[in-house]
Each structure stands twice: as structure tokens, then as C-alpha cells.
């Protein structure tokens, strides 16, 4: 059965989606157990697959029994394996924490919501594990459509924000499809490894250059890289907490994975960094993204919206790090995929807990939370330290590699942007700590007012949050192992 792990990763969530959909009409109480079981099997299979890759090298799985390029092949190497484990664990922890919030906000549509949830996870897992360029497009659209459904079920402004996300997301996916079409017309194949084999004689052709740029623009649209980021703050802020804490950590990071896959596997680093002269332009765009993300976050009076601008800045880190063109920068970018997914999950779960108890996320609602919800705020402190970049949390180590890469490439602007955004994050988060620490001002009239009792969120919401906070510290402590055993082999040797 262990050779079937790549297929199981995608089939188990897909079949359970149908089971949950039918259970939603027949007996609603079965939905939650089915989804937790399915995601646990996925986590187990993804960890098993990563261990197999560490032992034996690249795992290739032929779907339908047809060898590539005739059929579709799944291709799991160190880069995939790591991202698969991250996606699966984030999805599982989030669904356990989201149960109460779903019951509070829309109890009668819980069945369809869980179905969309697990279909989105299927789409994301499929994007990461596939080795066929067109299969990636189909799964990209599954993740996108389920995302639109999940995000539109929010407050009043949610349908309009989701519609704007739909326009930009569709343009992005169509550009990716067009890029694959250009690759097909000059090579005749759709399999990623096969295209990489057929491309080198064609590096000077204009069609290959166009294919690369069109694919990149499409992927940048979907990951909200500046200046194509306008859809992200609205879409993520107005959604319900269960949906935003699934989509915010995962979708943009999986798109960063797709970009790195395009750079490393399909268009090899020789073409991207040597033949094209775009490196500097993209890194400067990333610098602008980081600075704009940080400044716009400062202007917000609303916790959730501030965090979405931080996501824009983090995407800038990853794109800049990948395009620096050296091993340290690429290592930082890949490590940051995992770290940023965990950090974003941590802070968005905190927002979910706060919304569940206080029913609002503007700064005025946050007063006195350190006393009322100590465990939640403790995890928030760990997440904030990670975003700022304080050791031993994982955020420090990925920033370290990115700065190392910037120094090696001589790109001092990128290094300055990284340090600038850390300083701005200090201001952002300590401002919130100050608001949360002090109680709301109540007139005492001389009477002794007893302090507010502890009113923590329910256990199913707090325990996953604490687990994520602990993982943030553990991943930070084990960074050297992760880099030397996994990430070192994910990057081809040619990249120095």
C-alpha cells in the first residue's frame, strides 16, 4: 500500500468529499468525523511519502498505468514532500479548530461547507504533488472555485470582494493555461520533466521567453505579488474565520511553490537566471512589495486586515528570495513556505478565537484580552515573535537565510527591506499587545471593580492553536536538520 501513497493523498479526500456531501443531506452529525478521519489519513500518507523520498529519492507514480509522457505522472521529490506535509497538517489543525466557529455562524450549511473545505485541500494537495503541467491547471481551478465558495460566505461585503478575487484569479489561471499552451506548441509535451528535457535547444526562441513570462504573471496574480495584490486584503478580511484561516496560510504559499517548481524544474535555473536578464527587476519589485505591505499594514485599525497586508509582505520575501539566484536565497524562500504557512495559521486561528468570543476584530474590541483569553494571547505572542523574526521561532531562521542570500548576491536593497519590515512588525504587534493588555476604561465611582473573569474560547479551538505555537518553536529549533536533509536536495546542484 505504501507505493500507492501518492494516489491515496488525493483519492481519500476526494471520496470523503462525496461522503460528506451525501451525509449533509442524510445525517449532519457524520460530517465532522468523516473529515477529521480523511485529513488524518492524508497527514499520515504525506509523512510516509516524505520518509520514502528521504530514503529512496524521487518517487514517480504512473496514473492509469501509462508511462509519461503518454499518461499523467505524479512526481514527488524533496520540495514536494515538504510542502505536502505542511499543507496536510495545516488543514487538519484548522478543521479541528474551526468546528465551533462553523456551528456558530452557519449551522445549517455545515455539510456543504465541509465538502468545499476538503475539496479545497484536495485541490491544493494535487497542485503540489503533480508532475504534469495541464493537470496542475485543472487542480488550480478546483482550489480556486472552492476558494470562491468558501470566501463568499462571510459578511455583507464578502460577495463583492470574492467577485473581484474571481476576476483576477481567472485572469491568472488563464495566463497560466496560455503559458502551458505556448510550451506545448514548441515542444509537443505536457509532462514537466519531459518539457525540461526538450527545452534547452529552444532557449533563444521568443515563444519560450513568452511562455515563461506569461506563466510567471499568471502565478503572481494568484499569489498576490505587488502590484497584482489588490484582491487579497478585501477577500480575506470579509470571509468567515473558518474559511480565512484555511485559505490565508495555504493558497499563496502553494502558488509560491508553483513558481519555484517553474523556476527549478521546468525552466531550469540556467535559463531563468542566466539567459534572461529579469533578476534585478523582480527583486526590486519584491522590495517594493515588502515595503508597501508593511506601510499599508501600519495604516489599518483592524486586526484581520492588518494581518492580510502582512501576508502581502511575506509573499514579497519569498519571491525576492527565490529570484536572488543563489542557493541561500532559494533555501530561505523554500523554508519560508513552511514557516509562513505555520505563522499565518497561528495568527489567523487567534483571530478566529477572538471573533468567536468577542464578535469583532477591530482594535477597539481587543481591550483586556490578555486577562480574558490568556492561552490565545500567549499563542499570539509566539506567532508575532515569529513574524518579527525573533529566535528561536522559525521566522528568524528563514529571514536569516534570506539576508544571507541578499548579501551573497550583493543586493543590499532587499536586505534593507527585510530589516525595515521586521522593525515595522515590531511596531505593529507591540501596538496590539498594548491595547490587549489594558482593560477597557470603566468608571469606578470609587468602588472596587473585580477584574474580568477568564473567558477563554472552547478547548477544541485552543488546543490546536497551542499545538501550532509549539510547532513554530520546534521547527525553529530543528531548522538546520530540515535544511540539510530536505531542502539541500530540493535545489539542483547547479545553483550556488
Amino acid at each position: 500500500m505504501s507505493q500507492q501513497y501518492p494516489a491515496l493523498l488525493v483519492i481519500v479526500p476526494l471520496l470523503s468529499a462525496f461522503a460528506i456531501s451525501i451525509a449533509g443531506w442524510v445525517n449532519k452529525r457524520l460530517c465532522f468525523p468523516i473529515i477529521v478521519t480523511a485529513l488524518s489519513v492524508v497527514v499520515y500518507a504525506s509523512i510516509g511519502l516524505l520518509l520514502t523520498v528521504l530514503e529512496k529519492g524521487v518517487v514517480i507514480y504512473h496514473l492509469g498505468g501509462w508511462p509519461p509522457p503518454v499518461g499523467i505522472a505524479y512526481y514527488v521529490d524533496h520540495l514536494n514532500g515538504l510542502v505536502l506535509v505542511v499543507v496536510a497538517s495545516v488543514a487538519l489543525l484548522n478543521v479541528i479548530a474551526a468546528k465551533k466557529s462553523i456551528e456558530q455562524e452557519f449551522p445549517d450549511k455545515a455539510g456543504p461547507f465541509y465538502t468545499l473545505y476538503i475539496l479545497m485541500v484536495t485541490g491544493l494537495l494535487g497542485i503540489v504533488v503533480t508532475g504534469d503541467a495541464f493537470n496542475l491547471y485543472v487542480l488550480l481551478e478546483i482550489a480556486a472555485l472552492t476558494g470562491y465558495g468558501l470566501l463568499a460566505m462571510g459578511e455583507e461585503r464578502a460577495p463583492l470582494s470574492t467577485l473581484n478575487y474571481l476576476y483576477m484569479g481567472t485572469i491568472g489561471a488563464c495566463f497560466y493555461l496560455l503559458g502551458v499552451g505556448y510550451l506545448y506548441i514548441v515542444t509537443g509535451s505536457l509532462n514537466m520533466v519531459d518539457i525540461a528535457r526538450l527545452l534547452p535547444p529552444l532557449y533563444q526562441s521568443r515563444a519560450v521567453l513568452a511562455a515563461f513570462i506569461i506563466c510567471m504573471v499568471g502565478v503572481w496574480l494568484k499569489m498576490a505579488f505587488f502590484p497584482l495584490h489588490a484582491w487579497l486584503p478585501n477577500a480575506y478580511t470579509h470571509a468567515t474565520s473558518a474559511a480565512s484561516s484555511l485559505i490565508a496560510p495555504l493558497v499563496t504559499k502553494v502558488m509560491v511553490y508553483v513558481m519555484i517548481r517553474l523556476i527549478l524544474t521546468i525552466f531550469t535555473p540556467e535559463f531563468v537566471f542566466a539567459t534572461l536578464a529579469l533578476k534585478n527587476v523582480v527583486v526590486w519589485l519584491a522590495v517594493i512589495a515588502i515595503v508597501m505591505g508593511a506601510i499599508l499594514a501600519l495604516a489599518e485599525r483592524n486586526l484581520k486586515r492588518m494581518l492580510t497586508f502582512i501576508i502581502v509582505a511575506e509573499v514579497g520575501y519569498m519571491v525576492g528570495g527565490a529570484w536572488l539566484g543563489n542557493r541561500a536565497g532559494m533555501t530561505g524562500a523554500i523554508l519560508h513556505i513552511a514557516n509562513d504557512a505555520l505563522m499565518t495559521l497561528c495568527v489567523f486561528l487567534v483571530v478566529g478565537n477572538i471573533v468567536y468570543k468577542v464578535k469583532g476584530y477591530a482594535f477597539e474590541n481587543l481591550q483586556g484580552l490578555f486577562r480574558k483569553m490568556p492561552f490565545t494571547m500567549g499563542a499570539f505572542v509566539v506567532g508575532a515573535m515569529s513574524i518579527i523574526g525573533v529566535p528561536p521561532t522559525c521566522g528568524f531562521f528563514s529571514k536569516w537565510y534570506l539576508i544571507l542570500g541578499a548579501l551573497q548576491a550583493g543586493h543590499y536593497g532587499f536586505m534593507a527591506a527585510l530589516i525595515f519590515s521586521s522593525l515595522v512588525s515590531v511596531v505593529l504587534f507591540f501596538r496590539i499587545f498594548e491595547i490587549c493588555y489594558y482593560e477597557p476604561f470603566s468608571d469606578h465611582h470609587g468602588h472596587d471593580h473585580p477584574p474580568e473573569p477568564m473567558d477563554e474560547a472552547p478547548l477544541t479551538m485552543v488546543v490546536p492553536l497551542l499545538i501550532v505555537a509549539v510547532i513554530l518553536i520546534l521547527v525553529g529549533l530543528y531548522t538546520v536538520d530540515i535544511v540539510n536533509h530536505i531542502i539541500k536536495f530540493a535545489i539542483p546542484e547547479g545553483l550556488v
Binding site: F134, V138, E141, L145, Y148, G149, A152, E156, R157, P159, L160, T162, L163, L166, Y167, T170, I171, C174, L177, L178, G181, Y184, I185, L190
Partner: protein, 133 residues
């Protein structure tokens, strides 16, 4: 490249010029129009242009549709690839058409929700209503 070479090259690739024009019409509608449904129509034109591009890749001079001329009984006859159109772009575009229809359905459902809430489909009026709050 002088004119004598340019004109035949332009005419030989006329399918690409058509698809690029359609794509740009669709893209312009999505960016510049104010009405939400017109943007959706532009999105459809954009996706259809890409489908047209793929299908035009698969055409071969003098070939027929990709169904074996002999039918079921012709299992032992040799089949020459040059006689039949390339079936792979057709298969890929079946998927793309379906994805386009699905996105259209979701976009229209969202427009219905927006209309129920704001009573208009013009983007500037909706933004004015939001800012008034």
C-alpha cells in the same frame, strides 16, 4: 525581413492574430467596464480565445476528425497519424470549457447575491453605497 517575406508569413499564421485580438477584447472588457455582468462576458471572451488557440494548434492539413475511419471492425488496419487531427488539444479544451462554464455559474451566483444586497450591478454605485456607511 522585407515585405515579400513578411506578407506570406503574416497570412500563414492568421489564426494567432485572431486569437490575440479576441483575448485583448476580453481583457479590456474585464478591466475597463463598469457593469459586473459585462466584466463576466469579457471573462468568457478571454477564456474562449484561449480555447480557440489550443484547438487551432491541433489542425493538420488534409486530416479528418480524430475518429478511426474503420470503426470497431478495423482493429487490424494500420492507422496513419497524418490522416487524423491531433486529439490532445481537443481533450485539454474539453476540460477548459467545463472550467469556464463552472466559473461562469459561480460568478453569476455571486452577482445575484450582490444584487440582492445593493440593488444595482454597477461597480461605482456599489462602491458609493459602501463608502456611505
Amino acid at each position: 525581413m522585407n515585405m515579400a517575406e513578411l506578407i506570406p508569413a503574416l497570412i500563414a499564421k492568421y489564426n494567432y492574430w485572431i486569437y490575440i485580438t479576441l483575448m485583448m477584447i476580453g481583457l479590456y472588457a474585464m478591466i475597463a467596464k463598469n457593469n459586473l455582468v459585462k466584466k463576466i462576458v469579457g471573462m468568457n471572451i478571454f477564456q474562449t480565445a484561449i480555447i480557440l488557440y489550443y484547438v487551432s494548434i491541433g489542425v493538420k492539413k488534409g486530416a479528418t476528425i480524430p475518429i478511426s475511419a474503420g470503426g470497431h471492425g478495423a482493429a487490424h488496419e494500420a492507422v496513419h497519424a497524418a490522416d487524423y487531427l491531433n486529439p490532445l488539444p481537443h481533450v485539454l479544451m474539453l476540460t477548459a470549457i467545463v472550467v469556464g462554464v463552472a466559473t461562469l455559474g459561480v460568478a453569476l451566483a455571486l452577482c445575484l447575491r450582490i444584487y440582492n444586497r445593493y440593488n444595482t450591478l454597477e461597480e461605482d454605485e456599489i462602491l458609493a453605497q459602501i463608502r456611505k456607511k
